[in-house]
């Protein structure tokens, strides 16, 4: 069976990736494993661990690790005992030379991802915390355990870009560790050989060209592929990278990153700009830079593409064959692969100011869930120690052994100030039916554009659901990009029935999804409230209104903040009643313009302010 053959190939690739990673963990960056917790994932991890030298550190990083533990800082107990500052090593420094395992990596916050990325890039950790400034070595590989299920959950792109391998293990029953004929001894031998492995120019050229044809913009991908090819050659006991190694690198490193299928007749220079999937939020890039200024060894660049097309074809074929089936379907459908999982989201719901990232401290006593800022408290106490000790002596308290080492008083107490940024996503549910006068559509578009125009200040996002005929459709997934919003709104047609219940269901679903991602949804419903299509898609005012009323109550129960904008020229009591049922703010806006609407939305929508 074909599926079986594909699974076997996937299992073999997983074993090969484990072996390559074990040969050169630090240079390859690591691997992203997309799978739920299970025996196969454990088996793969055991494989890597078993093939690494026994003395290499193997650390697991919990999801919500504090900066103090991750980066290091002041070791308080040791500091107090010794009477001088003693630094504590963070997890990154501890994992130097080994592997750092990220649990639930799809939920890492952007800040943690950036810290990890910096360490992966530099191979060292720059620390500037708690009175300690140091640069400590941290050459490590990261294995990110991505347990995302939905397409939009996944490892954050900056981290994904830095890890050589991406493996999907779900659906595999077991791995055969013997598959590649690797064992700890052969891998250790390969590690010793690695430094002398030569990388011929032809392989570099072929891998670069292959990446271009697969629409891989990042040069780091090509770089990692060349490193993987070297490791493969070393593993095979050769001193020169050959076609076979290049093929393996193309399969393992390049294929999972493909964003398009190579065209049927690839001209050698078809490395045209990648699809603008990653640049939606940024202004168009500059024209390509002028050719590089030639250095002293300009001969290195002199020959144009000198590779034999055979090699390139072999690599390309290997990579194309290894593109995961899911990705392939997406590519064929013309979807922008990788876009959906572009960002890892921290899933925490907003709570009181008892959590979040520390942002300094202020004087005060810890109460009502506030955390004592220990370091700052000690800092405040530190200068007074000598004085206080003298005071104690004067008051007749002898400096016995039982006297505390540090004299902390009430006025020293500092509490941590925490803040958590909360993103707000405003969901517009726009009635595009025939009854809702079409001109209101233009207003909705205008209001959305105005909101987006200042969303870079507010850090808000916008989504649009349009409904007409028998269906409700997500026209614009949550975005901050003005260009994208305009593009999708421009294509919103009008006319047809009013399937209000269906629209409300879709809105609740989207709002719930937004809330699960730790953001705050706000709904803005633009309609005249005259439902005439039921949930089943059949016309009939009675049933449609009953359905709409039921959906409205569901919306009320879900507790999302809602603004009901009645767009009919003469506001109807029915619409007001419906707004009451969904516990929405009711706003009849018979003659409003886009600006007035935008102001109203801003006033109602839960603004994502910081909490201090």
């Amino acid at each position: 069976m074909r599926a079986d053959a594909a699974d076997q190939a996937r299992a073999r690739d997983a074993v090969s990736a484990a072996a390559l990673l074990a040969v050169d963990p630090q240079t390859l960056g690591g691997a992203a494993i997309r799978a739920l917790a299970g025996p196969v994932r454990d088996q793969w991890l055991a494989l890597v661990r078993g093939w690494l030298p026994a003395d290499r550190p193997w650390r697991r990083m919990p999801l919500n690790i504090a900066d103090g533990r991750l980066l290091g800082g002041l070791d308080l107990s040791a500091t107090l005992a010794a009477g001088r500052p003693i630094a504590e090593r963070g997890l990154l420094a501890e994992a130097d030379g080994g592997v750092l395992l990220l649990a639930m990596a799809e939920r890492l916050s952007a800040g943690t991802v950036a810290r990890l990325s910096a360490v992966l890039d530099d191979g060292e950790l720059r620390l500037a915390r708690d009175g300690i400034a140091a640069t400590v070595p941290a050459r490590l590989a990261v294995i990110a355990l991505d347990e995302g299920i939905e397409a939009d959950e996944g490892l954050a792109a900056p981290l994904l870009d830095r890890l050589a391998f991406r493996l999907e293990l779900d659906g595999l029953r077991r791995l055969d560790p013997e598959a590649g004929g690797f064992d700890a001894a052969s891998i250790a031998a390969a590690r010793a050989r690695l430094a002398q492995v030569e990388l011929p120019d032809a392989v570099i050229t072929a891998l670069t060209a292959t990446a271009g044809m697969l629409g891989i913009a990042s040069l780091r991908a090509v770089w990692l592929a060349t490193r993987a090819a070297r490791a493969a050659a070393a593993l095979d006991g050769r001193d020169r990278v050959s076609e076979v190694d290049g093929t393996m690198a193309a399969r393992l490193v390049l294929a999972p990153r493909a964003t398009r299928l190579p065209s049927a007749e690839p001209p050698p220079e078809s490395a045209e700009p990648p699809p603008p999937s990653e640049q939606d939020d940024s202004p168009p890039a500059d024209p390509p830079p002028p050719p590089p200024e030639n250095g002293p060894d300009s001969d290195e660049d002199a020959p144009p593409i000198d590779l034999d097309p055979m090699l390139q074809e072999v690599l390309l074929a290997a990579a194309t064959a290894a593109i995961p089936p899911g990705l392939l379907a997406q590519l064929k459908a013309g979807a922008q692969a990788g876009k959906a999982r572009a960002s890892g989201k921290s899933g925490a719901l907003q709570k009181a100011a008892a959590r979040g990232r520390p942002s300094g401290s202020r004087r005060g006593e810890p109460r009502a869930g506030q955390r004592l800022a220990l370091i700052d408290t000690l800092r405040a106490a530190a200068p007074w120690q000598r004085l206080r000790r003298q005071e104690r002596l004067m008051r007749g308290m002898a400096a016995t052994a039982s006297a505390p080492k540090v004299l902390v008083r009430r006025e020293d107490f500092h509490v941590a100030r925490l803040e958590q940024r909360r993103e707000t996503t405003t969901v517009f549910i726009v009635d595009a039916s025939g009854s809702s006068a079409l001109n209101r559509l233009a207003e909705a578009k205008g209001a959305i554009e105005l909101l987006l125009a200042d969303c870079y200040v507010r850090r808000d996002r916008v989504a649009v659901i349009g409904f007409r005929g028998t269906t409700a459709e997500l026209l614009l997934p949550p975005t901050r990009s003005l260009v994208r919003a305009k593009r999708s709104l421009a294509g919103l047609p009008g006319g047809g029935g009013t399937p209000l219940a269906t629209a409300l269901d879709a809105a609740i679903e989207l709002a719930d999804a937004i809330r699960r991602r730790g953001e705050t949804p706000g709904l803005v419903l633009l309609t005249d409230g005259r439902a005439n299509i039921g949930r089943d898609g059949k016309p009939g005012r009675m049933q449609a209104e009953a359905d709409a009323s039921a959906a409205a109550k569901r919306l009320a129960a879900s507790g999302h903040a809602t603004l009901f904008v009645d767009t009919s020229p003469r506001p109807q009591p029915g619409a007001a009643r419906l707004a009451g049922e969904m516990r929405a703010v009711y706003l009849p806006l018979p003659f409003a313009d886009a600006r007035a609407l935008s102001t109203a939305v801003k006033a109602v929508s839960p603004s994502g302010r910081k909490q201090g």
């Binding site: 950036a114 910096a118 640069t135 990042s218 940024s282 500059d286 050719p291 120690q385």
Partner: protein, 341 residues
Amino acid sequence: MPLPFPFSAIVGQEEMKQALLIAAVEPAIGGVMVFGDRGTGKSTAVRALAALLPAMEAVIGCPYNCAPDDSSDACRTSLDQLGKARKKTHKVPVPVVDLPLGATEDRVVGALDLEKALAQGSKAFEPGLLARANRGFLYVDEVNLLEDHLVDLLIDVAASGENVVEREGLSIRHPARFVLVGSGNPEEGELRPQLLDRFGLSVEVSTPTDLQARISVVRRRDAFERDRAAFIEQWKPVDDKVRRRIVAARKRLPDVQVPDAVLERAAELCLALGTDGLRGELTLMRAARALAALDGDAVVGDAHLKRVASPSLRHRLRRNPLDDAGSTTRVERAVSQLFGA
């Protein structure tokens, strides 16, 4: 610290390299912001620049690397404290200080020296990153992910040129004039407009799309990783040439003339684009002058203005929801309207 990649071996990215050189010649430009995709050599370029800069003269023992002939107010405090050592100077490398994510405020602004406080019970100031960056560069990678309270701090210090520490019973002010270099990916979070405004130049980098350039990037990196010392040695003559160019440009800079006609052009350009405030014109003029100095020209001409227009102005445009064009396109359009025909 591992040896950095040579500046001149960076393939392409001419706009970024030009902006960094301008900042090295004319620190008053107010910093460089580099926007770009992942893996485009943003960090590499900044670290490479550090290795390239000629050493500078500084007072021995001054924690802020004060120049011996600097008589501005902010410096006097530190010079007075030094007393006799005033005239003694030594050559120090231009500091390029990293502000890492996760840095705490006390290390950035400086704070009570914990060691002295705990061990001797004495109150001493331990200078922070801002002090170390004085007269050099402060580099913030992923500046859009920096905590808000640190951003506020940077905005304040970058504008005033001095760092005022009022904490833990300390009351200290010291000079903190540095070129702020930020890098970031706009997809991963927007930058506060106030901070963006502090950057004199903003450049956009993208991954090279030309196959030949891409191959060169990978090849050079491979050669570098294989034998860093040899690779740097190989590129040393080119790097030295760039260094000499910077030194010559610094010397020439005060004598570079800016004709009134060019100033007028700059004003017209800013007017046409509707940039806020005068900072745009000022930056445009300074950048054009520094570029002329780098090119060895004695007078600033239209050509210089044209080349610095995009980096000087593109981040100062008001966002116009009704104009789809990116800011770079808008600047280029205005430039061609003004200079063209």
